[in-house]
Each structure stands twice: as C-alpha cells, then as structure tokens.
Symmetry: C2
Subunit: 198 residues, 2 copies
C-alpha cells in the first residue's frame, strides 16, 4: 500500500481500541486527518494531559485526576456503604444511573483461572483496610452474573465473613424494559427465585 | 456524574469519531486510561505528529506526508491513467486491492444539493491542469453507485468531453462472492445490463 507510515500507524493504533475494527479505524483516522487542527490536535493534547493527570485512587481503585478520587472525598456520600465492582466502567455505569449513594471498591477484574487472575491480582487490600479502620457497615457486591463474577463474590463473602460487616449482592432477574422471551434460562431461573409477593 | 473533566472530555471526543458511539467511546477511553504509558501517550504523540506532517497532495488530493504524494511521484505508475475517486478512503480501498496501476484524483466529495456541495467544492482543477499539460490518456470514474455519484460522473464526463481524453467508469454488477438474493433491484438491473457473452 502506498500510504504514509504515520497514517498506517495511526490506523493500526486506532484499530486496537475496543469497538474499532480495521474498517472503522480507517474511517476514524480519515475523519481526524481531515480536520487536523480542529479535531486531531485537540484529541492528541487531551490524551497527553489525561495520560499524565489521571491516576488510580489509592482508596477505591477508581480513575480520577485526584487521589483520593472525587467520590471518596465527597462528604455527602455514605462512606459506610461500599459497592464492589469489577471495573471502572461498571462504576461509571452505576454513577450514570445515579443509584448508589455510597462509595466504591474497584477490583480491577474477577478471579479467573482462564485469565490467570488470582486473589493477589484483585484490588481488595484497601477495602480490608477501610473495614479494619471501622466505619464500613455494608459491602454490596455488584459483580457480573457470570461464573467468574459468582466465584469472586463467593470468595469475597468468605473473606469478609469474619469482619462483621453486612455483605449483600445486587438482585438478579428480568432487566427493566426487557421482554421475557429473549432472556436466557439462567436469568429466567434467577428471576423466578427472586420473586416477590405483591 | 462524578467523573473527572479530562476523562469526560476524552469520552466525548472519542464518541465523535465515526463508528464509535458513547458506549464504545467509554470502553476505548477506559482501555487507553488503563495503559497511559504504553498506549495513550504513543497514540497522542502519533496524532500530534500526523496532524502536522500529513498534508493534502496538491496534484491529486491524496493525504500523505509528502507533497506531491508517494503515488504521484512513483515513476513506476502510469501517470496517463487517472482514477477519479470521491474520498481518500476510496483511494485506500483501491490501493489495498492493488488493482489500479495509474494515479488518482480525489474529488473530496460528490455533487450534492443536500450537502450543499457544488462543482466549486470538488477538487477537479488539478485534474484539468494535468490534462491540459498533456500526458493523460484515460480518466476512470470510480465513483459510488449512488444518485450523487452518478450526478458527479455525468457532470465530470461533460466537463472532460472537449479534452479528448477517454472517460470510462468502473463496472456495476454483482459483487464477487455475493449472493443474488440479497442484492437490491438496482444492482440486479445493472448486472443484467452489464452481461457478457461466455
């Protein structure tokens, strides 16, 4: 191909982003190259700034420009209610929903033999520290309803059993707005088990 | 949302790339933020370099780090055979296929009343210059088989009629590997008209 190295490299790096295949990476590169001043440079500068300014919160594992993060330092939030999530993306999803008024603990993954992730790879020590310091009443496990999520939830529950804090998990069932006939058997079974009297 | 401004902005800028919605922009941002040194900084630096190094070829409208571009300056290519395409993306597609041994003319769009694009918005003057200088034998119109593409092809054909160069267009028909029953009526009609004796 008679394409300059810089463009070739740009396409190749963009195509490694999740959600972008080679085809959409080419379209994205072209759209950036068409507006170098208006779009590519601002994005480049923002990435450069974010790469140095964004750090991992030492308390909860969230990504933010300050450490501890905005959530951990927000005095209006309930520090006694810790929601355990797998990734920062899950934290973002809960924040967008605006349904959790407490703080978070981002594990950074789940126990997974396949991915070679053991207990030592998960960010839990800062949660145990927070519990040991007192003030944590309840830990809500908001992990994925997958084998890995369930394994991790079970392991965390055992680990927290001796601490005396209440450990709960988010409910499983039919998603709001979801039709039953497209759901898998596991979800339907979970929804039946989680039935409530009206 | 309790997300830092830098991260919020990064997601918003990424989500404006074609092919990335808000959801995949968040995943892309997260994947970059997880590897600031290994992935985000290199991409930022590459974008910064490309934004200043990549320019539009004054001969054909291609994007390259040199002007005239690699294709126009390649003495092994046939400068007498000019393939007219709408966008640099189309040029890339033809180069990937490796089917054109001549040079290109990138219009930068098509005539479109809807998009407010008139003849003065298309990059044709450098093509007319090249033809006037002599040496161009044939102009192949490789424009999209759309209303805009056909309008633009017709307009170009008229414009080039007096120059004496041969004007051709790419063939229309059944794509290779394509099944007939998924094709639209227009393509099927074009394929029948373009039939060849065996």
């Amino acid at each position: 191909m008679m394409i300059s190295n810089d463009i070739e490299q740009l396409i190749s790096m963009l195509s490694r982003l999740p959600g972008l295949g080679p085809r959409s990476a080419r379209r994205a590169a072209l759209s950036l190259l068409r507006q170098p001043e208006a779009r590519m440079l601002p994005l480049a500068h923002l990435m450069e700034r974010a790469a140095t300014s964004v750090r991992t919160c030492s308390l909860c594992g969230n990504l933010d420009t300050i450490d501890p993060c905005h959530i951990c330092t927000d005095s209006t939030r309930d520090g006694g209610l810790v929601c355990v999530v797998e990734t920062v993306g899950d934290l973002w999803a809960l924040e967008r929903a605006g349904v959790h008024r407490g703080v978070y603990q981002v594990l950074g993954g789940t126990l997974s033999a396949l991915a070679g992730l053991g207990p030592e790879d998960l960010n839990v020590s800062s949660l145990l520290d927070r519990i040991a310091e007192g003030g944590v009443r309840e830990v809500i496990l908001a992990l994925g309803a997958t084998v890995e999520g369930a394994t991790t939830a079970h392991w965390l529950q055992e680990k927290l059993a001796s601490t005396g804090v209440v450990v709960s998990r988010v409910g499983h069932g039919v998603p709001m707005g979801g039709a039953l006939d497209v759901l898998d058997d596991g979800t339907l079974a979970a929804a039946l088990i989680a039935r409530r009297a009206l």
